[in-house]
């Protein structure tokens, strides 16, 4: 750290350039046409920051610590980033996010513990920033790990609930805040610091446990904003502006996405933040508008192939089931085949379809579906009445008409895709098991709906074959 005045000035300028690169990089993501360039600009910014940091390091003694950590992190990160399947993207983003949160918590702990015991109480702004980073960073770290385990299906994706859950979470939050106060006023600061750290790590686990797989878009966005906030707070603790700027950008982005996802699910931010996620639980048939004697019409591959080939407008409605079955390439093939016959094919994308914001878009982009064919909910809904066929592939709750009309339904008020207004509806589904929220979907019993049971990918492959022979 033997930096002359000129060096430290240059370092500060380099960090400023990094901040600008990040902002311009994100700005270029406003259209898919420039987004790749945006990523390059962002990478350049990161490289500049790392080079500038190199000038402040004391390589004499412990250069190997940085070399091992950086080398191993880069190797493992790049390996997984290159080999992960697009369907596994949500859990990949979750685990990278957790890594950032964990690193922030560790940096803050180190920064706090190196302060002189006398200083620990004298400089409350630094110590408060450190404790806050430790709290938010460790919530993000352990929360992301649970989110990863759920998405990777290493543990159940269903909400895990137990009596007194909210009380336990409240107590843990109280311990974390009490630790923060103790550090701020200098009362037994070091044990208090660790109490905060541990309580929030446990809170991170318990806070994600009751959240079901279908609510993951909200959780991942929220954890993303937490890590951003933790990075910004690390900046306060270290007195480093580039961390503050970058963390603030990410925090804003994550918060904005969380709000959007909450809105798309008709849940308030308070509902999201205070963990009423368990509220949407499997209900014992309660609140359903499906008559007990309702029958669903099962259809054959040939019938559906005929229906599709003779249609003029087809709207494909993908959901998480498409991701699970890895059916995106087959869907694209079917659309190609239909388009060759003069059928117009569009895709209706619900904001919370899948397990993270924009999940369906990435999968379909992987299958080479041009992005202008992917249409957001508000824009596609007026088109359903003109569509001859709506082809629902592994989407359930986002197509449930009860959300529109049945006030006793748990998802009442959630904006949905109006697939029931299409001329014919074909639903590809594994079985008649209710969707994630455990709610019956009256769509399946409608007169214009036919069901095609089976694995989405093999059903669509069969459809492609049948359309070809027509």
């Amino acid at each position: 750290m033997i930096a002359t005045d000129t060096t430290s000035l240059l370092i500060a300028v380099a960090y400023l350039v990094t901040g600008v690169c990040f902002i311009v990089g994100l700005r270029l993501m406003s259209t898919p046409l420039t987004a790749r360039r945006g990523n390059m600009v962002s990478i350049a910014g990161m490289a500049i920051a790392l080079i500038a940091t190199g000038f402040q390091l004391d390589f004499a003694e412990s250069w190997w610590i940085g070399a091992i950590g950086l080398g191993a992190g880069a190797a493992v990160g790049i390996y997984f980033a290159r080999s992960v399947k697009m369907t596994a993207m949500p859990q990949m983003v979750a685990i990278f996010n957790g890594c950032g949160g964990g690193a922030a918590a560790m940096v803050a702990s180190a920064e706090y513990l190196k302060l002189d015991p006398a200083v620990q109480s004298v400089a409350p702004d630094l110590s408060i920033a450190s404790v806050l980073t430790a709290i938010i960073g460790s919530i993000s770290f352990t929360g992301s790990i649970i989110a990863f385990l759920k998405l990777q299906e290493l543990m159940t994706g269903r909400p895990i609930t137990y009596p007194g859950q909210q009380v336990v979470n409240g107590l843990l939050a109280l311990v974390a805040v009490a630790g923060l106060v103790c550090v701020a006023i200098g009362y037994e600061p070091v044990p208090a610091f660790f109490a905060s750290l541990v309580a929030s790590a446990v809170l991170g686990v318990l806070f994600v446990l009751p959240i079901g797989g279908a609510d993951m878009p909200v959780v991942i966005s929220l954890l993303n904003s937490f890590t951003g906030l933790a990075a910004a707070l690390t900046g306060f603790a270290l007195g480093n502006d580039v961390l503050i700027i970058s963390g603030a950008l990410v925090g804003a982005s994550g918060t904005l996405l969380t709000l959007m996802m909450g809105k798309a699910m008709n849940r308030s931010v308070a509902n999201v933040l205070f963990g009423a996620f368990g509220a949407v639980k499997p209900t014992e048939g309660g609140g359903s508008s499906v008559a007990a004697d309702a029958v669903v019409r099962e259809s054959s591959v040939d019938d559906v192939a005929n229906m599709l080939a003779n249609a003029e407008h087809v709207i494909v409605v993908p959901g998480y089931g498409m991701a699970v079955a890895q059916a995106q390439h087959s869907v694209r093939e079917l659309a190609d085949e239909l388009e060759r016959r003069g059928v117009e094919v569009k895709y209706a994308i619900h904001p919370v379809a899948g397990r993270m914001p924009g999940h369906m878009n990435v999968l379909l982009a992987e299958a080479n579906v041009p992005y202008p064919a992917l249409i957001d909910m508000e824009d596609i809904n007026p088109e359903f009445p003109q569509a001859d066929v709506a082809l629902v592939i592994g989407a359930n709750d986002v197509t449930n008409p009860d959300a529109r009309s049945n006030t006793s339904s748990p998802i009442y008020g959630m904006p949905i895709l109006d697939v029931d207004k299409a001329g014919r509806v074909v639903v590809l589904k594994r079985s008649m098991k209710p969707g994630f929220a455990g709610i019956d979907n009256p769509l399946y019993a409608l007169d214009n709906t036919s069901m095609l049971f089976g694995d989405a990918k093999s059903s669509i492959d069969k459809l492609v074959g049948a359309v070809k022979t027509l």
Partner: protein, 119 residues
């Protein structure tokens, strides 16, 4: 406690939040997954902090925890950027057959975009 310094940092933070909201609000929903991944990589900037606490004469966390902090942060940075790049490479305006045409249109739009930047 240096209030002037703290206030300067808070100013930077608050202004950056507003810039963030402004910039992120313009990202179309189709890019929300790459956006999350990109912002993910950006918060990997804690790598700067991790290096600053790890590569000093006496590491504050001890060697093992220091390596772990740098490891986690660089996993975040490198993994995040590579995954974002992979995703963005897949977004195409039209089917690959007509890709040449698509690039040309892309440049037109880029010019329009840079013009948006003018105050």
């Amino acid at each position: 406690m240096n209030y002037a310094h703290l206030l300067a940092e808070l100013t930077v933070f608050v202004l950056a939040v507003f810039v963030g909201v402004e910039v992120i609000g313009k990202v179309p929903p189709t890019l929300h997954t790459p956006l999350m991944s990109a912002t993910n990589a950006i918060h990997g900037i804690v790598l700067v902090g991790a290096l600053l606490i790890a590569v000093v004469a006496v590491p504050h966390l001890g060697p093992v925890l220091s390596i772990l902090a740098v490891f986690l942060a660089s996993l975040n940075v490198f993994g995040g950027y590579v995954v974002t790049g992979r995703m963005l490479a897949m977004f195409k305006a039209r089917p690959p057959a007509a890709a040449g045409d698509g690039n040309k249109k892309g440049d037109d739009l880029t010019i329009r975009l840079t013009e948006d930047w003018k105050p």
